[in-house]
């Protein structure tokens, strides 16, 4: 027998201490039985000569003392958590409780939790490890920890509507140990994906026939070319023998919304030219199919309203023409402007991002980009092509101006782009090239830093920024939130990344299609008939309870002092 609570020395020492304490208590113990008599006056007279409180003569009930001592020792033994020793050479037992989207339906998670606790209880503590299949694979019970901790740690756990992580978890966390047994408590679809000889089926959720759900929802810039419009694609999938797909119901910012829906295939629905104004578009499948987690999906549309540009007096005509020709830019007065374009002689508006036209004599580099202090420095090599400078004939310009043409980066309180004014001379090659309107538009967009375009936000996947692929399109807010890595999206619902609202949806085809999956009949199952290793603990408790009941009966019958 092994003691997992405390060691043998502590057990023996504690038993001796208990015996001493009970002995002392027994000596001091006075339980008086009330007897009604008529001869009290004689007892009073007798008691005056022989007082009753004589402590050293109280210990006369050896059997009662032994009974109490036996109860105390049994409880002390139970506290040591005695268990039968496991068979030598046995393997490690790893338990994995799936807490992802597939377990959100009905009582699946509660049943899996019960099965897990029952199975884990039958395994020796030193060979047992329990993991929770959440987004990060939290370890619930380390080897050697008491099984009593497991129900408490699982009490507040609820499954999250994220794609299953079990296969990835096995590949990354359990790459090698072939002697371990991996007990899985989750869905059949997840279990079927993994072909691993170590896998043992603990609990498999019953299939849900006829499930269908929304497996994708995303937004792209409108195919019509409108700057401030977006096309939204919704994809629906149904498990085998699933119900026919009913028309989707849409809401916009919570209110019913009836867009023109174009069916782009059997399971795809397209909503064209929706205003890219940052509103929340939600799609819902009508009816109920037993797995509600995938019946609704939502998407926060990008916010692409025109950039307000103030053009001051000294700005040359080619730039004015380029701004006027771009529907994404709207000339406004300086007070309402997001971005300012000015010449060197125009008054400066310090707080606003500005495109400045400097005389070549006043600036060493032809193009000087100033980014905000404390933010990541844009990659200049990538920026040149996006600015239209990749096709720019810098050599000819340098010959004309008798100066080398270069690009430099600096940091400052606000974004600015300072450019030689001579480049925009109407007779110059740059002013007549197609690169100028591209340069003006891209520069003003970079200066305005519009919100990032998030094409979709699926739970359990990294955040994708449609503009983030190029250096000039990276959102400062996302860059700050990213902290050098990917931004992981957790459970479905409304969330914020930096200062930007994001609507996260489950949108996982594997989850939707896997609800109807079943396992082959020959799948290895967990051996529930494991030897109850905590039998000594249970027996000690039962024996203590029986002795306690016996003592109570004897006391009630007046057989115990």
């Amino acid at each position: 027998m092994i003691l997992s609570g405390f060691g043998l020395t502590t057990l023996i020492a504690g038993a001796l201490v208990l015996a001493a304490i009970l002995y002392g208590l027994q000596r001091l113990r006075v339980q008086r039985q009330v007897v009604r008599v008529a001869t009290t006056l004689f007892w009073q007279a007798a008691a005056q000569a022989a007082p009753s409180r004589v402590l050293h003569r109280r210990f006369r009930h050896w059997l009662a003392f032994l009974l109490v001592l036996a109860i105390a020792w049994l409880l002390w033994l139970a506290g040591a958590r005695p268990a039968l020793p496991p068979a030598p050479g046995t393997r490690a037992e790893i338990f994995y409780l799936d807490a992802t989207a597939g377990m959100t339906a009905g009582d699946r998670f509660a049943e899996a939790r019960r099965a897990l606790i029952a199975d884990a209880r039958a395994v020796p503590a030193d060979r047992r490890t329990v993991y929770l299949g959440d987004a990060v694979g939290t370890r619930l019970l380390a080897p050697g920890e008491d099984i009593a901790l497991l129900p408490r740690r699982l009490a507040a756990v609820r499954p999250e509507a994220i794609p299953a992580r079990f296969p990835d978890w096995v590949r990354t966390r359990l790459p090698g140990d072939q002697r371990a047994a991996l007990h899985y408590y989750g869905t059949a679809a997840t279990l079927a994906v993994l072909r691993d000889p170590r896998l043992v089926q603990g609990y498999v959720a019953p299939p849900i026939a006829g499930n269908r759900g929304i497996v994708a929802i995303g937004a792209v810039p409108a195919a019509s070319g409108a700057w401030d419009r977006a096309d939204v694609l919704v994809r629906v999938a149904a498990a085998p023998r699933g119900a026919p797909t009913d028309p989707l119901a849409f809401t916009r910012d919570g209110r019913p919304f009836s867009p023109s829906v174009e069916q782009a295939g059997a399971d795809r629905f397209l909503l064209r030219d929706l205003p890219a104004d940052g509103s929340l578009i939600a799609a819902r499948l009508p009816g109920s199919d037993g797995f509600p987690a995938d019946d609704r999906a939502a998407l926060r549309l990008p916010d692409r309203r025109p950039i307000r540009v103030a053009i001051l007096a000294g700005v040359p005509e080619p730039i004015r023409a380029a701004v006027a020709a771009d529907p994404a830019l709207r000339p406004v007065a300086p007070a309402q402007a997001d971005v300012v374009v000015r010449a060197a002689g125009d008054p400066a508006i310090p707080a606003k991002p500005t495109l400045i036209l400097q005389p070549a004599s006043a600036q060493q580099a032809a193009f000087r980009f100033t980014y905000v202090e404390g933010t990541p420095q844009p990659d200049l090599a990538d920026a040149l092509d996006q600015l239209g400078l990749g096709q720019f004939d810098a050599v000819a310009l340098a010959d004309t101006l008798h100066r080398p043409v270069s690009v430099e980066m600096a940091s400052g309180p606000v974004r600015t782009v300072a450019v030689w004014r001579e480049l925009f001379d109407p007779t110059g090659s740059f002013a007549r090239s197609p690169s100028l309107p591209l340069f003006v538009a891209q520069s003003l967009h970079w200066l305005a830093a519009p919100p990032a375009w998030i094409p979709y936000a699926a739970a359990g996947t990294p955040l994708v920024d449609l503009d983030g692929g190029d250096a000039l399109g990276q959102s400062p807010a996302l860059a700050a939130a990213r902290l050098g890595g990917a931004i992981a999206l957790r459970a479905p619902g409304e969330t914020r990344v930096g200062d930007m609202p994001v609507a996260v949806s489950l949108a996982d085809p594997a989850t939707t299609l896997g609800q109807a999956a079943t396992l082959p009949a020959d799948s290895p199952r967990d051996a529930h008939a494991l030897l109850p290793l905590d039998l000594p603990f249970t027996l000690a408790l039962i024996a203590a309870a029986l002795l306690l009941a016996g003592e109570w009966v004897l006391f009630q019958r007046g057989r115990l002092p």
Binding site: T39, A46, R53, V54, R57
Partner: protein
């Protein structure tokens, strides 16, 4: 535990009453003023027992004139006889709660003794009075006579219910102050007065009557080891006041208890002997008639 009252049917046992008729109860002399009966009295009148001579006065019965004295002295004298009258017997019956405690409560034996003595008294043409007491004495019946009243007496006794504490001394003093015709007082009690014998015995001396003390005892009174509950750590609770005394029952304590109880009995007996009273100690757990037989030596008890 308070025992149930003794019913009339259980108390009024004709066989029991027939057997007590063999006994006779008398006192040395009763006060005059009673009805003609069998008890010697200090009254002078009709009778068979010569008492004295006195000068003849007009109206005396001529049959009582002693002619021999007249022949010798020449004067008329009449013979005076002792008149036998009835004896008043006053029953002072304890109905405190201590009398009703236990499986064989003292009150059952006390009522049987009382009824037996009442049957004897009424059978010999004497009279009885019933004065139950607890915290105070009450007058239930001042004068009952004739055999026909025995049923009435039994009904009175059967109605006794547990009252409160015991004030034996106060009840005796009250009875003594009533200036009843001198006769016999029968005190049926356990004599466990909370004031102790220090108050009871002086009160007994105040009674102008002959006295019969019927002390109702139980075996565990003198030997508490007979009560299995009285072992180890106990709290004895007074059956009347509810006051508790915490005890550790030890042989030494038991010895001290027995000493206290024996002293109590000795003192009560000594006082009874000194006062010319009789003391009948009746075990409440045993047959009453058998114990009365030892009291009436030769079938008569004369006080």
């Amino acid at each position: 535990m308070i025992a149930p009252q003794l019913s009339f049917d259980a108390l009024f046992d004709p066989d029991f009453l027939a057997r007590v008729q063999q006994f006779a109860l008398s006192v040395t002399r009763v006060d005059k003023g009673g009805r003609l009966a069998e008890q010697a009295s200090n009254a002078r009148g009709q009778g068979v027992d010569f008492a004295d001579f006195r000068p003849y006065i007009a109206g005396d019965d001529l049959r009582t004139i002693d002619w021999n004295i007249y022949r010798r002295l020449g004067r008329l004298f009449v013979r005076v006889f002792e008149e036998r009258q009835s004896m008043p017997v006053y029953f002072l019956i304890d109905i405190s709660r201590s009398m009703f405690t236990g499986e064989s409560p003292r009150i059952h034996a006390g009522l049987r003794v009382s009824l037996a003595l009442a049957a004897i008294v009424l059978g010999q043409q004497d009279s009885i009075g019933l004065f139950p007491f607890s915290d105070a004495m009450t007058i239930q019946a001042r004068h009952l006579s004739g055999k026909g009243n025995l049923v009435r007496v039994a009904r009175y006794l059967a109605e006794y219910a547990p009252a409160a504490g015991t004030s034996l001394s106060g009840s005796i003093e009250t009875l003594a102050a009533m200036r009843l015709r001198r006769g016999l007082v029968v005190i049926v009690s356990d004599f466990f007065d909370s004031d102790g014998l220090d108050q009871v015995l002086p009160a007994l001396s105040l009674l102008p009557h002959r006295t019969l003390l019927v002390q109702l005892v139980r075996p565990e009174d003198g030997d508490p080891s007979r009560n299995p509950a009285l072992a180890g750590e106990v709290a004895v609770e007074d059956s009347e006041t509810g006051a508790q005394v915490e005890l550790t029952i030890t042989p030494d304590l038991l010895d001290r208890y027995r000493e206290a109880y024996a002293a109590f009995n000795d003192r009560l007996l000594s006082h009874a002997l000194a006062q010319g009273a009789a003391l009948a100690r009746i075990d409440a757990t045993r047959d009453v008639l058998e114990q009365l037989g030892t009291l009436f030596q030769g079938g008569r008890l004369s006080l």
